[in-house]
């Protein structure tokens, strides 16, 4: 009687050119790689926010931290310890332009905007429910074609929504007479615009912080120069 020998073969984890792969491919791969990231001050970043002293209202910019801030609350702005001024006028429209430069330190054209929904608290932004309304402004735009006589254009008028699929062009504010061209807000590498604020108070007692996102998009800028309309 012969003994039978049975060989049980199964697929094996063999890789390399000579091995035969079984029916199973890899079930999963997790590849751990590394990246080096440099975080720099706002003034020297890829999208630089820099309160150059040549700007007429750079005194309101606070560059003591790595992220720029704007202070319109007194705090010894004039450096004379007088405690004055302490804020903006009530029941008035105050325009403070040329506070800091927004510079494109990247390698492609960018479209610069402030998403209106990023102005926080919402009540001082497009929500408009507060007696204080603040709108970011841009001046010294290198490619402006709209309203050449206006001191500044609103940065919340032409913007990309969250899906980045649509641009919106609201009534030009504060002109409220028409629309801007997206090209107005484009910066080529090395170019900059001056950031300012339009403040409209109708009797509020606001005393606090307002934040907003300054955004730059290279892909939308590229679609403008190629003439394609997304």
């Amino acid at each position: 009687m012969e003994r039978r020998k049975f060989l049980i073969g199964t697929g094996s984890l063999a890789a390399g050119s000579a091995a035969a792969m079984g029916t199973g491919a890899f079930t999963s791969v997790t590849a751990n790689r590394t990246m080096e990231v440099k975080v720099a001050d706002d003034a020297s970043a890829l999208l630089a926010l820099d309160a150059e002293s040549t700007l007429s209202n750079s005194v309101y910019a606070d560059e003591s931290g790595s992220a720029i801030r704007v202070n319109l609350d007194g705090n010894d702005i004039n450096g004379d310890n007088s405690g004055s001024p302490a804020g903006v006028n009530k029941n008035a429209v105050t325009q403070i332009l040329n506070i800091f430069k927004v510079k494109n330190h990247g390698t492609q054209n960018v479209f610069v905007y402030v998403p209106p929904t990023s102005v926080s608290p919402e009540s001082v932004g497009e929500d408009g429910s507060s007696d204080l309304y603040i709108d970011p402004q841009a001046s010294s735009l290198p490619h402006r074609v709209s309203y050449p006589d206006a001191d500044s254009l609103s940065l919340t008028s032409v913007y990309l929504d969250d899906t980045k699929e649509e641009t919106h062009n609201r009534d030009a504010f504060p002109e409220e007479a028409g629309y801007y061209e997206p090209e107005d807000f484009t910066l080529a590498p090395g170019e900059s615009l001056n950031f300012g604020l339009h403040i409209d108070d109708s009797g509020s007692n606001f005393d606090g912080e307002i934040s907003m996102n300054i955004a730059a998009d290279a892909e939308y800028a590229a679609s403008l120069s190629s003439g394609s309309d997304d």
Binding site: L7, A14, A15, V29, V37, D42, S66, T163
Partner: protein
């Protein structure tokens, strides 16, 4: 009557010359088998990772994909009038869809499925809380949503390529130079 030899077969890494297991139990077995593995460079691996562009934000170092933001050559772009940035800003979200000097949508690196089944591709953030967080996205979409385990790039076919961009989030991150992980995952559909 011939005796039948019943072979208790079981799946296993058995590749020996002949193991006869009868109906009798054994107390213990220790079977040494071998697994052949070849570790390959990224350019020739089951999940191929390939750098894109000439601006050196993505490079291959020691056979492995590596990213540098800003790149070592960032100070040369754009040619003729370079801008020479020092880095990304704090409290920001930066998305990089291309190498320095590249076209938006090109991607920083490619993921190519050299396996035998379609896979879902996504990134995992391995950074500490005080470091820039890292995510990957598909730069060829409009929304550029980041690819996560619950919302990956689905079913990258065998032999197919996915271009990837990188998103960095620097909220609550101080000015500094960081080495952070870039973790790329590919899971077979089933």
């Amino acid at each position: 009557m011939k005796r039948r030899n019943l072979l208790a077969g079981m799946g296993g890494l058995a590749a020996g010359s002949g193991l006869l297991v009868g109906t009798g139990a054994f107390t213990s077995v220790s079977a040494d088998r071998t697994v052949t593995v070849a570790v390959e460079e990224d350019s020739d691996a089951l999940l191929k990772l390939q750098e894109l562009g000439t601006g050196k934000r993505s490079v291959t170092d020691g056979g492995k994909l590596e990213l540098n933001i800003p790149s070592d050559d960032e100070g040369q772009y754009p040619s003729g009038d370079p801008t020479d940035p020092d880095g990304v800003a704090p409290d920001s979200v930066y998305k990089f869809g291309a190498d320095a000097g590249g076209n938006p949508g090109d991607g920083l690196f490619k993921v190519i499925n050299q396996g035998t089944q379609p896979v879902d591709v996504y990134g995992t953030n391995g950074s500490d809380a005080d470091e820039p967080s890292v995510a990957i996205f598909d730069p060829e979409t409009d929304e550029k949503e980041i690819l996560t385990e619950s919302d990956p790039y689905k079913s990258l076919g065998v032999g197919s390529t996915l271009r990837c961009g990188v998103q960095l989030d620097t909220h609550d991150v101080s000015v500094n130079t960081y080495d952070v992980p870039l973790i790329i995952n590919a899971d077979a559909d089933n």
